[in-house]
Amino acid sequence: MAHLNYEEGKKVVFRGFVLLGIVTLLEVMVALVGKGYIIHGFHLPRFIMYSLMIGMSLYKAYFIIFEFMHMRYEVPGLVRSVLMPTMLLIWAIIAFFYEGNTWYHWRKNVNDRPILELSGGVSNSNNTHHESGSHDGKEMQQETPANLPVDSNAVEKHH
């Protein structure tokens, strides 16, 4: 379904190549500069760096779908039926990241309780700080998160 003539089409392809290349380079530059690899001691705030990188990736995705995959030339019904379901992902991202954050706090609570290590039965008790979860050898805090509530219930009973 060529809605552009051949020469125009070739131009669009070349433009797309340059555009995607430049955006990718910009992303990498933001990452390297933002994390202080290029200019020593210079860091971008995480929020700015992440929004820039996510924004540029979304732009690349838009360009690939609408130009390379010719979505621009499809009828609106097709565009909507393909793109609108992906909006559900916005909710999925919010819900799951919220959940992940909850797990993070659970892990902290679990590591606070030395008695847990009896139920784990693998690590000795030199972990004094809460966040790193420094056990010897086996990584208790890296069990599947689904186990955690069960474990903390077990701890409750021990108390």
Binding site: F17, S57, F68, M69, A92, F97, Y104, S132
Partner: protein, 280 residues
């Protein structure tokens, strides 16, 4: 694509023709429409994987810094963050561009052009797979990362090393919080280093979150599998083009368009894998 003439011709038998396949919903052929919906469902699969990565990363107190983990280059060069994956990204972008050219030549019924640009696309796909194979080899064989063990740990506090690892770390080197390290193996034995925190405690390096290795290998592996199957399909369709199969067909080179959609989707997914694994 239904032209205006065919639409008018069927106006009289509207009800019958709807069910006889005379009308194309969304003015796209069945094959192309289904390719779009397949890609939509595949997008959800990848989104599920990447959201799982984000969730586990959020839930973990520490996470390996990608600039440290993915910083090797072929030829024994280390500590050059992002260079190799940027190259891989370029390879995939170029192969996407050559695919667009193949589709365009298909619209002109230029068989030679289609075959040439598809061949370039296949070459790009193989090049990408080669890069990924090298990356995996380095991680599995060199750095001993597996889906069960993640030797990339991350400090949560600043301190000073008491031992050296014979690679980059010497005794007395200081480090700061959020810095990622690699625990090396000597003769099959893990050699975590001892260090002294600023508070004066003596501690040992710990393994990183186990999920990191599993997520990395599963997600990039799943993407690599898409690239591999894409290369196989491209190869089959290229041979069909070369042997003139599509010249006979009513929809001509539409097969090239369909595999093109798939190939661009693989590039699209890489945009997000690149973002999530390497940039953030």
């Amino acid at each position: 694509m239904a032209s205006d003439q065919t639409l008018q011709a069927h106006q009289g038998h509207e009800n019958e023709s709807v069910w006889m396949g005379a009308k194309e919903p969304f003015k796209a052929s069945y094959g192309k429409l289904m390719m779009w919906y397949f890609l939509l469902s595949d997008a959800f699969t990848f989104a599920g994987f990447l959201i799982a990565y984000g969730t586990l990363r959020f839930s973990s107190p520490t996470w390996p810094v990608p600039d440290f983990v993915f910083s090797s280059l072929p030829g024994g060069i280390h500590h050059k963050p992002l260079i190799f994956v940027t190259f891989m990204t370029f390879v995939l972008i170029v192969s996407s561009v050559t695919m667009v050219r193949a589709v365009q030549e298909g619209h002109r019924y230029n068989k030679k052009g289609v075959v040439f640009w598809m061949l370039m696309t296949i070459f790009g796909g193989l090049c990408f797979l080669g890069c990924q194979a090298w990356e995996w080899t380095t991680l599995i064989g060199g750095e001993k990362m597996s889906i069960l063990k993640n030797p990339f740990g991350t400090h949560v506090e600043s301190g000073v090393y008491l031992e050296g690892d014979g690679h980059d770390i010497k005794p007395g080197d200081s480090f700061h919080a959020h810095q990622t390290y690699l625990i090396h193996q000597h003769n099959g034995e893990w050699m975590p280093l001892k260090y002294k925190t600023e508070a004066g405690e003596i501690k040992q390096q710990q393994f990183g979150p186990k999920a990191f290795g599993a997520l990395f290998f599963f997600i990039t592996g799943f993407h690599g599998f898409h690239v591999l199957s894409g290369v196989v399909f491209l190869l089959i369709i290229m041979i069909n083009v070369a042997s003139g199969v599509y010249v006979q067909r009513r929809n001509h080179y539409e097969m090239v368009e369909k595999i093109g959609l798939y190939w661009h989707f693989v590039d699209l997914v890489w945009v997000f894998v690149f973002l999530v694994f390497y940039l953030l």
